[in-house]
């Protein structure tokens, strides 16, 4: 059996060290090893977006990244979106617009939306829908999610 690999990475701004096996996904290590439960497993093959994190500034599905791959890299999870001052505007707008029902897909959507606004602070409705097409929500019909993202972009 392969021995465990030592990985050093920056997660939500803090340097983190952990041991993992090469076959473990970043999602698995975030949840099972690091206790960061905000990223959710919905499909475990890149089709639902519930496990979205930002890796080196780019949005990725953490189920499709090996934990060993993040050596020396920086990762932002849903737990790192709010600031010490309070909620991120996206988080606030998701609550205000009732952009969630069960809330399971919500962390993935917020992380994805943050990645969008980081690179396009003023997206159109179509751009928001296109960007969020990799995130599945079964409760809301997306209507309020799209409105929340557009409103957060405005504020």
């Amino acid at each position: 059996m392969p021995s465990k690999t030592h990985v050093t990475a920056t997660i939500n701004g803090e340097e983190v060290e952990f041991l993992c096996e090469p076959h473990q996904s970043l999602l698995e290590v975030l949840r099972e090893t690091l206790g960061l439960m905000g990223a959710k497993e919905g499909c475990n093959n890149g089709n639902c977006g519930s496990c979205n994190v930002i890796l080196e500034g780019r949005l990725v599905n953490s189920c499709l990244v090996l934990a060993v791959e993040i050596q020396g890299k920086s990762v932002t999870t849903i737990e790192g979106i709010a600031t010490p001052e309070g909620l991120h505007p996206l988080q606030q707008k998701f609550i205000e617009h009732a952009a969630l029902q069960c809330g399971y897909c919500t962390p993935g959507f917020i992380v994805a939306a943050k990645a969008l606004l980081d690179q396009n602070p003023n997206p159109s409705e179509h751009e928001v829908r296109e960007w969020l097409a990799g995130n599945l929500c079964r409760c809301t019909g997306y209507d309020r999610i799209v409105k929340a993202v557009l409103d957060a972009a405005d504020s």
């Binding site: 905000g38 497993e41 499909c43 999870t77 969630l100 399971y104 097409a133």
Partner: protein, 753 residues
């Protein structure tokens, strides 16, 4: 029934406070079932059948048991061998033997993905490795995948002991037909004779899944004293407790179910799959906690779905547009064990209309597919797809506007359904009027290959048992314990009813969803019942609390209790007044803490009606249908928490659109499910949909103190029919099979008469 329906006087109801669990859910802190971690916890995995229909000849688990890290392996032999008996297990009625066999197959596997064994090990990787070491010898049998074939004489039989039930009369020979039902009124032959136009069509729909994003999960901790705690994702904790007790034959008092946050259910998380396995694995592995989670392919292959169906509808109307007769045959797939929602489909199919001469016949048929579970207005969407398409065609033949045709025939208070029962106050006609007056309907649609469709829908809604208890805090806030799992904002819709009754802000209520040892019995979050029934429990609790607080005010003011009045959050007696908050601060001076509770089983649930309008554009070369605009009009009784009422409607519409256009279970000839991922089970993505407009019509339900009707289910009923009707207006073909996928649209165009 008295109603407090004076909208202008409501201070909390009808407003939009921020949901109480909002921050937890946008920061990733909300704890869902799979987020639980216990010391010494083992991880489980389930071995599933590669066959759709096979006899289990033998099973050998010895190699798996020897694998380092494996702590327990279970098969159906570890389950009590239950006798057939119909029981109410918090998800409607089920045969306990069948439910047990569905959770772990005993003699036969009846669908691809049917569970046959489970393992607990120190890691998920080891557990999965162990599954590969379990040897199962099968004798493959011919699968039965189509309901009409399953009904034929000579079809392979799934369940040797199954006999057709016809309202209390059992058939005598083995069959795949579990139930045969019939409703009739008037004189159907006479009705068709009076018709000037008659439309008759056959419809086929495929099995579809609820598609909740959170896979099923369950964690169990068995103790040597026989007590077991279960943490899981469920729509109803008490239902889980009953099902586990029945299947494992242990007393309910030995089971505590802690409902975790739930990532969607839509009916699919009422019945249990993993909970009894986790409990048994925990017991067998030396009382270590065991966590089981499904992956997406397991969810699709072995949980949910709702029935595919074959439906025939024949309707006639006279020259004036009055419906003279309506006849329907509904055959629904139950999946591997009896229990399709065909009865509900029969109840939905002509529900919006005055039918003087009607016949509705239904069959519940087992096939080699997963045992169906409830899915949002179960059975309703299939039925409405058929009837509302025929309605559209009749309107066309009559040269009438489809809304006018429905207005002419729409049911109202006092009208009888085909099953003979009479409607109380309902708001169907109001939804039609609102649809007719909507900006959407009044805006002409233009452009090549575009079309507008209209369809209506009905759902019964439900009441059921609910409990609530509250305690008053010194700072004037109120803690609310309730047993309804919050899938879509019900903590707040319940807190709002409490706040309204107590005259305090919704923010001053702290709602908590409690486990089965901490609150009175409460049925699951299903049947569009939570805001209605648990809302009623909360209302009764508040009334009880007010009486108790009046006593405290009386003590404080040294007057008789009946001299204390309460209105809009203020207690008064003569010129003395205390707000709720002021009185709360003084409880210690008047006898200490105050708590109140109530348990209810309200009967006055009122049905919901909806009318939807949709514009589509069809690409006639590829067959792709784009939804351009959508408006859903619904009688919601009274919208307690309007933003979440709207969101329920939008979500139901989105699921209905998915069902209409792309979602379906695809099986190969051996009965193996082909599309077991969210890539190939095509639910709508954000780019597929437009904004979904809603119009809330409020015809107060006379059976609820605040006029609440259920709202969650009816919005999934009209969409496929509305879209089919829109496609017809766009390209001139009647689509009679769901989903109306691009391939089917192109095929229909090629064969266009």
């Amino acid at each position: 029934m008295a109603t407090l329906d004076k909208p202008s006087e409501y201070k909390v109801i009808g407003t939009s406070p921020l949901r109480h669990d909002g921050v937890d859910k946008v920061t990733g802190r909300a704890a869902y079932g799979a987020d639980i971690r216990l010391p010494g916890m083992l991880y489980g995995a389930v071995l599933r059948s590669p066959h759709a229909h096979a006899r289990i000849i033998s099973m050998d688990t010895s190699e798996a048991e020897k694998l380092h890290g494996v702590h327990a392996v279970i098969t159906a032999k570890d389950f009590p061998d239950l006798e057939s008996r119909i029981v109410e297990l918090g998800e409607g009625l089920v045969n306990r033997k069948y439910q047990s066999n569905n959770i772990l197959a005993r003699d036969k596997v009846l669908y691809f993905g049917h569970a046959v064994a489970a393992v607990a090990a120190t890691s998920l990787h080891i557990a999965k490795e162990a599954l590969d070491l379990i040897r199962v010898e099968y004798e493959a049998l011919d699968p039965v995948m189509d309901v009409r074939k399953a009904m034929e004489a000579g079809s392979p039989i799934l369940l040797d002991d199954l006999r057709t039930d016809e309202f209390g009369k059992k058939g005598e020979t083995p069959t795949n037909i579990a139930g045969h039902y019939k409703d009739a009124c008037g004189d159907i032959e006479k009705g068709f004779k009076e018709a000037k136009f008659i439309v008759e069509r056959e419809f086929v729909t495929k099995m579809v899944h609820q598609g909740y994003i959170e896979p099923q999960n369950a964690t169990a901790q068995y103790n040597p004293d026989g007590q077991v705690a279960i943490w899981c994702s469920t729509q109803g904790a008490f239902g889980v407790r009953e099902q586990v007790a029945e299947i494992l034959e242990i007393p309910i008092s030995n089971i505590r179910v802690i409902p975790m946050e739930i990532g969607g259910g839509f009916g699919g998380k009422i019945g249990v799959y993993l909970e009894p396995l986790a409990a048994l694995l925990s017991r067998k592995s030396g009382y270590r906690p065991v966590k089981l989670t499904m992956d997406r392919s397991e969810v699709l292959a072995a949980t949910g779905p709702t029935s595919g169906s074959y439906i025939k509808v024949k309707m006639g109307a006279d020259a004036n547009g009055k419906i003279t007769a309506a006849e329907a045959l509904l055959i629904y797939e139950a999946g591997a064990y009896p229990g399709s929602p065909v009865g509900a489909g029969m109840g939905v199919i002509f529900a919006p209309y005055r039918i003087e001469n009607g016949v509705i016949e239904g069959y519940d048929v087992v096939v080699n597919k997963p045992r169906t579970a409830a899915y949002r207005a179960p059975g309703g969407t299939n039925a409405a797809f058929a009837a509302e398409t025929v309605m559209d065609e009749l309107a066309e033949k009559l040269g009438m506007d489809p809304i006018e045709f429905r207005l002419l025939n729409g049911a109202q208070e006092g009208d009888r359904r085909v099953d003979g029962s009479a409607y109380k106050r309902i708001g169907y006609l109001e939804t039609l009027e609102a649809a007719k007056e909507s900006a959407h309907y009044k805006t002409p649609l233009s452009g090549p290959h575009t079309g507008r469709g209209v369809a209506s829908g009905f759902w019964f809604n439900y009441g059921g048992k609910s409990s609530a208890s509250v305690s008053v805090n010194k700072d004037g806030t109120v803690s609310l314990l309730e047993g309804s799992v919050d899938i879509g904002g019900t903590r707040t819709s319940l807190a709002m009813q409490l706040a309204e009754t107590l005259g305090i802000p919704a923010e001053d209520v702290r709602p908590v969803v409690a486990d089965t040892d901490s609150i009175g019995y409460t049925e699951g979050t299903y049947g569009s019942r939570t805001t209605f029934a648990t809302g009623w429990a909360v209302y009764e609790t508040a009334r009880d609390l007010i009486e108790k607080l009046k006593e405290r005010a009386a003590i404080l003011w040294e007057v008789e209790k009946d001299k204390v009045t309460f209105e809009s959050g203020v207690f008064s007696s003569g010129d003395k007044t205390l707000t709720f908050k002021e009185l709360a601060e003084k409880l210690d001076e008047t006898g200490g803490p105050v708590v109140a509770s109530a348990a209810v089983q309200p009967k006055g649930y009122g049905p919901g009606f909806a009318t939807h309008i949709v514009d589509v554009e069809v690409d006639p070369e590829t067959g792709k249908v784009q939804i351009l605009r959508y408006t859903a009009v619904q009688d919601v009784g009274k919208a307690i928490y309007p933003v979440y009422v709207e969101s329920q409607i939008q979500g139901g519409v989105a699921q209905g659109i998915g069902w209409a256009l792309n979602e379906e279970y695809l099986y190969d000839e051996q009965g193996r499910l082909l599309n077991t991922s969210l890539l190939d089970y095509r639910m709508p993505v954000a780019l597929d949909l437009p904004m979904i407009d809603t119009i809330l019509v409020e015809v107060a339900n006379p059976g609820h103190p605040y006029g609440v009707r259920g709202v969650g289910e009816v919005p999934i009923v009209p969409p496929p029919a509305a879209i089919a009707n829109a496609i017809y207006r766009a390209i001139g073909v009647r689509m009679t099979e769901l989903p109306m996928s691009p391939a089917r649209v192109v095929e229909a165009l090629i064969h266009k008469p």
